[in-house]
């Protein structure tokens, strides 16, 4: 018991179950056996779906959004040229019924449905899209995610202010129902991007009338399956069915209520009592208990949880130390025993994208090599290892703390080095990262579209979103080649080569690929877990349970 560090993994259930206290017996009494549902299972009375959205959205203006919280609402309020299949995330016809790509892959023509309307009955045309996209790119909008459209010709120059003529941006409207987009390089995933909230149309007539208050309830005009009914800050957002929606007959819900609850304990209390039908991001603390429930489902996502090494600081400037640290971590135990929400051990920075990209295999778990490398670097058995701090930030949950504590224990056990834990609150943490005032820091990155470029262009410059100080000529060469390559197969080969360099040098240590988990009540049909945590609720049904 006194040996610090980790006990060896041993199979075993819950010890001492027979000798538990009265408190426990009550608890056990209300626990149901495996494979059961969690909490209330009687179907609700109304066709209202109550979803916990995790926190208060910053805005409902798709152009200003930059997070999945806002996205969850946007995907139900608005609809882009394409829309996501709720299960596979394939782009399906949205406002555009079909689209065509030129042979060189640079020109995309979208054909819009003639019945498309705003929720106030006005027709929705290709000019609305052109206006919305140019608004997104206009410098004065200061859109957080404007770079999303930099794939379009001259978009970047216009956004950065070096080009002022809107006509030169690669967006044209030959008629009211056709939109032609010219790209700077071929992007097979462009139809995916036109389903994302950033590219959704916004109502020009309403924005010009109400200014920044156009998103207030009563002002907000949208084109998706639902419209905004109420928005009470920190209380709830209510959407009701939009009768003007072009496929209103396929929308079954009458109302959706989004709750902004951050406290995971309270969320589960409410879910258990049936006050909430659906919640995303199941708390880590309860995985072992919840993962056997039928409410629970999970899928690996396009995101990587990783640790940054500040390579300008000793001893992390030594690649052998970085490799030793990475090799000494048993990611499988971390993901299965601590996390268990479906996370996958990560040995590469880019998650595998089925049918598109398979990343290099990486180093794996090898504590012997790790100890050897550490000794070669001058720290045999961890002797003389300088003080190193692991920096992480506070969030509403203790997630980062749990991960950091486990990694700290693993490094102590395998390498004999004791790393400190340093917690900072969010904005201070961001500043420390930006100023590169850290040794090792936790970080996360979620890809925007199914392409390795959204991960690997991070390390083209030492700052920005990299901030490890690491750059590498070969790496940059491969990534730049890939980005401008027209041939999909050779693009992926270049990405693969680049990533091999990255995993050799390890300025960042991938820990695991995110999983998106959710709990849903038995009466909910049509919500699926997917790789990007995107949940269009337009074809969700509430089924009354049979008694």
């Amino acid at each position: 018991m006194n040996v610090p560090g980790l006990k060896a993994a041993a199979p075993g259930g819950w010890p001492g179950l027979g000798a538990c206290s009265i408190v426990l017996s009550i608890v056990v009494a209300c626990c149901s056996p495996q494979g059961e549902w969690f909490g209330v299972t009687e179907a609700p009375r109304s066709e209202t779906l109550v979803v916990n959205n995790g926190t208060e959205p910053e805005t409902l203006d798709p152009g200003l959004m930059n997070g999945s919280i806002e996205g969850h609402i946007a995907f139900n309020l608005f609809e882009g040229l394409t829309r996501f299949d709720p299960k596979t995330l394939e782009p399906l016809p949205g406002v555009a019924t079909n689209w065509r790509v030129s042979d060189d892959g640079l020109e995309w023509t979208f054909f819009l449905r003639k019945t498309a309307r705003w929720s106030d009955g006005r027709p929705l045309t290709s000019h609305d899209f052109a206006w919305s996209w140019i608004r997104l790119l206009a410098p004065q909008t200061a859109a957080r995610y404007a770079s999303f459209l930099f794939l379009i010709k001259n978009a970047e120059a216009y956004n950065l202010g070096s080009l002022t003529n809107q006509q030169e941006i690669g967006i044209r409207c030959p008629d009211d129902h056709t939109l032609v987009v010219t790209l700077v390089r071929p992007a097979p995933y462009f139809a995916f991007m036109t389903a994302f909230y950033v590219t959704m149309p916004v109502p020009r007539h309403s924005i010009e009338r109400h200014g920044s208050r156009w998103t207030a309830p009563g002002n907000l005009v949208s084109n998706g399956p639902f419209v905004l009914a109420t928005w009470q800050m920190h209380r709830k957002i209510e959407l009701v069915k939009n009768p003007q929606y072009h496929e209103a007959d396929q929308v079954f819900l009458k109302k959706i209520i989004f709750l902004p609850i951050e406290d995971t304990g309270t969320v589960l209390n409410l879910y258990r009592r049936g006050d909430i039908d659906l919640l995303f991001d199941v708390p880590l603390e309860l995985y072992s208990w919840l993962r056997t429930r039928r409410d629970f489902s999970t899928t690996p996502g396009w995101g990587v949880y990783y640790y940054k090494f500040n390579i300008s600081r000793k001893p992390l400037d030594d690649v052998r130390v970085r490799r030793a640290l990475s090799l000494a971590i048993d990611r499988k135990r971390l993901t299965s025993d601590l996390l268990g929400q479906g996370q996958v051990p990560a040995f590469s920075f880019t998650p595998p994208i089925p049918g598109v990209y398979a990343p290099p295999e990486g180093t794996g778990y090898d504590p012997d090599t790790a100890r050897r490398l550490l000794a070669e670097a001058g720290y045999p058995d961890g002797n003389g290892f300088p003080p190193v701090q692991i920096l992480y930030n506070t969030i509403a949950t203790d997630f980062h703390k749990h991960v950091a504590e486990v990694l700290q224990a693993m490094w102590k056990q395998e390498l004999g080095i004791h790393l400190g834990l340093e917690i900072q609150e969010w904005k201070t943490y961001l500043k420390s990262i930006e100023n590169r005032e850290y040794d090792i820091a936790r970080a996360g990155w979620v890809g925007d579209f199914p392409d390795p470029g959204t991960f690997l262009d991070l390390f083209l410059q030492p700052d920005g979103n990299n901030n490890t100080g690491w750059t590498h000529a070969d790496y940059s060469k491969h990534v730049v080649n890939a980005l401008s390559d027209k041939d999909q197969a050779s693009r992926m080969r270049s990405f693969y080569r680049a990533e091999s360099v990255l995993m050799d040098e390890l300025p960042v240590m991938p820990v695991f690929f995110y999983a998106f988990s959710m709990l849903k009540k038995p009466w909910i049909e049509g919500v699926y877990e997917n790789q990007q945590d995107i949940h269009p609720l337009r074809s969700v049904r509430i089924r009354r349970a049979r008694k």
Binding site: R235, T266, L270, K427
Partner: protein
Amino acid sequence: MIRRMVQRLLSTLLVLFCIVSATFFLVRLAPGGPFDTERALPPETRALLMKQYGLDLPLHEQYIRYLDNLLHGDFGTSMKYPGKSVSEILFEGLPYSAGLGGLALMSAILAGAGMAWLTVRRPEGSADRWMVRISLVFLSLPGIIIAPLSVLVFSLWLGLLPAGLLEGPEHLILPVISLALPLAARIFLLMRDSVRTQSAGTWFRAAIGRGIPPSALYLRHVLRHALAPVAAFLAPASAALLTGSIVIETVFILPGTGRHFIQAALNRDLTLILGTVILYSTILLLFNFLADIILMLLDPAREKSEGTA
């Protein structure tokens, strides 16, 4: 008396001004800004946002502009929630916080004073001793314990009351009780101790000896003195209560203003921080001012120097 009140009011305003100014400069000292996000913004976009909110001006100019807007009743726009003004955000939450806090305050005063009234008639009786013990337990029950435990017992195990949200009056029962219990205990102890001290005094015994009925004495003299410490305690406590309790709002998911004290500071939402601080400080100083006046009225002979609380 009037002169002292005016003097006090003026110094209160000065203190408020200092608080606003200090907050304005303090938040800028803290590392990180409102537009720092996990995914770094392009420098051009960040510069534009800074310009939109006037953060590109020299600090003293920003300060003067802020004070000028403030005098015109304009608290500015939130930096975290674009399109929402600070006053809109605060006044959306304040009714909930003030309503909840007011209910808790009223029930605590009623319960505390009622308990005190019951026990002081029979000092050192077993009722008195048990009441003191129980109230010491309640006094030791902070929101972070009583709120989740009451949810566990009353909504998860017994299924009697909702576990959170605000969909009807029954949703207020647990939050009000969680807020009111420790408060009621404190009010009870304050009043009881103070009454005990008074009734142990020689003038009290002399009055009893002269045949004055104790109930008249309690009402006319003892209670008056007993109110002084209660008023001094309640002034800051009710300011904190009415502007929202962070724990209660978090555990029971109530849309009050309490969360802004933390969230705005964590988000570096400069305008919302200032708005929240101004709201809180104004109410606090106002209540302290009122408490001072009450103390003066209760005991006009009270030495001036004691009046700072």
